[in-house]
């Protein structure tokens, strides 16, 4: 395996984050390698979202955050997608304009069209983005992220508010991105989703990374009692 494949895209070393009086992350060491699909799971308030925001550089903490060489292009899809009060097309063109250092201006229209085609929203290009349904908004957010061809895509519970069919559409898109070689880090409450999609599962509890295992190992017998309790609390049957 080449050096580029083994070197992490991004590494956190002993990172702690204090948000007001709350310690959101405590001495977290975490790395992401190219091609991985990492599912970050944990209870509400465990620090999943903060971990993603630290990875993306939206939040600073103590400790070290090191980017790979060259620095990976990142994009993030938030729990609730935010769109400007513009059409779908103009929102996408604006995102590509903001990424103009990586996306040449001449390429932007074609890139935008391709992104909408990929997520099945071409017919909605002239609609106000904010009147899209929940599932359509998440698909648009994925299109907007994919359009800049990120090396690393971060997703904060992208299917939390979606019905089963919309959830399935989003998961299909994510599997497609992963198959194309994109690296994904996704926080989720949905253990079945983590099991279906991820190559690696990270369990976060009270701001600490308690378990970090390949998916098959994570959902098998686990050495961490808290993780076992969490899994048992989420599912009605014993996974062992």
């Amino acid at each position: 395996m080449s050096d580029a494949a083994t070197l992490p895209l991004l590494r956190l070393s002993n990172v702690s984050v204090q948000l007001g009086t709350v310690t959101a992350l405590q001495r977290v060491s975490f790395s992401v390698r190219r091609g991985e699909f990492v599912a970050v799971i944990g209870a509400n308030g465990s620090g999943k979202t903060t971990l993603l925001r630290v990875l993306h550089g939206l939040v600073e903490g103590t400790g070290m955050r090191r980017l790979g060489e060259p620095a990976p292009v990142q994009a993030m899809v938030f729990h609730r997608p935010f769109m400007l009060n513009l059409t779908v097309w103009n929102n996408l063109r604006l995102a590509l304009w903001l990424a103009r250092a990586r996306v040449p201006r001449a390429e932007a229209p074609a890139r935008a069209l391709e992104a909408l085609q990929r997520v099945g929203l071409v017919d909605s290009r002239d609609r106000p983005a904010r009147v899209l349904s929940g599932g359509e908004q998440q698909r648009f957010a994925l299109a907007r992220a994919w359009a800049v061809r990120p090396d690393l895509l971060l997703l904060d519970e992208p299917t939390a508010n979606l019905d089963p069919s919309a959830k399935k559409e989003v998961e299909t898109l994510l599997q497609g991105f992963a198959a194309d070689g994109m690296t994904l880090v996704m926080s989720t409450h949905n253990l079945g989703q983590a099991k279906r999609l991820a190559t690696r599962v990270v369990y976060v509890d009270r701001g600490e990374v308690r378990l970090d295992l390949p998916t098959a190992q994570f959902f098998g017998p686990s050495a961490d009692e808290r993780a076992r309790l969490f899994l048992k609390g989420e599912l009605s049957w014993d996974l062992e």
């Binding site: 993030m76 997608p81 935010f82 009060n85 604006l94 106000p128 904010r130 009147v131």
Partner: protein, 288 residues
Amino acid sequence: MSIWTCGRAALADAWLDVLAAASGEGALCTPRHIVSSIAPIENGAHGSHRVNEFAQSAKSALDLIVHADAVLVRIVALSLAVSGTACLFAAGFGLVGGAWLAVARFPGLRVALLLLNTLLALPSVVVGLAVYLLLSRSGPLGSWGILFTPTAMVIAQTILVLPVVAALSRQVVADGLRDGGDPLQSLGAGPLLAALLMLVHERWAVVTILLTAFGRAIAEVGAVMIVGGNIEGVTRVMTTAIALETSKGDLPLALALGLVLLAVVALLNVAIAIVQRSRFASVGLQTR
């Protein structure tokens, strides 16, 4: 004079004193002046005479409007031009300044915001006085020679409405960035660009802010009276003309201008309501 008439006149006087004190306009004509120019109704004969006089004035006022009297049109046009120009300048500086304040981080920011919010209630006569002192011959900008010109009036009204635009736009941007700040930063927008994009996002709110500022500008009298001088054909606007004509007892023009001013304010309110409906429609919400 009956006890009822005396009492009614005394109540009216007291009410007018409260109004004059609360208005803070310090115009040459207080409401008391306006009413005192019309003698209190003492008995039936005088009463009907005054009513006929008022009716005649109202009719003359409507004639002035319907026939687009040249003096009336000139005064209205100057009012719209002065206040419109002032709002344009206030929009340029105030929107960008408000957006910047929403994302700025520097020592003393809280004090700056407190000062800005205090300036929302800046009395127009105080603004007029300050600009007068700046532009008078003995002032630091006396060499400009623009006192008692529409330019001075534009400067005064810009200063008056700038805090309105800045403070309200700052709030709109700050509120919007609570949801949109991180996503915009994630897309690559720096803090100021994100704030400016938020103004685009909340453009209906921005339009409402600008209409509100225009309403404040066109209805004020203190600042333009002091720095403009109410010179006929040069710096006479609706509010100063109403004050002057009423003090002279020349009601038709005052009434006509008053009706036009009311119509302008009413149109502004209608425009704001239409903008609000458009804003809700753009996000698929039903208005009541």
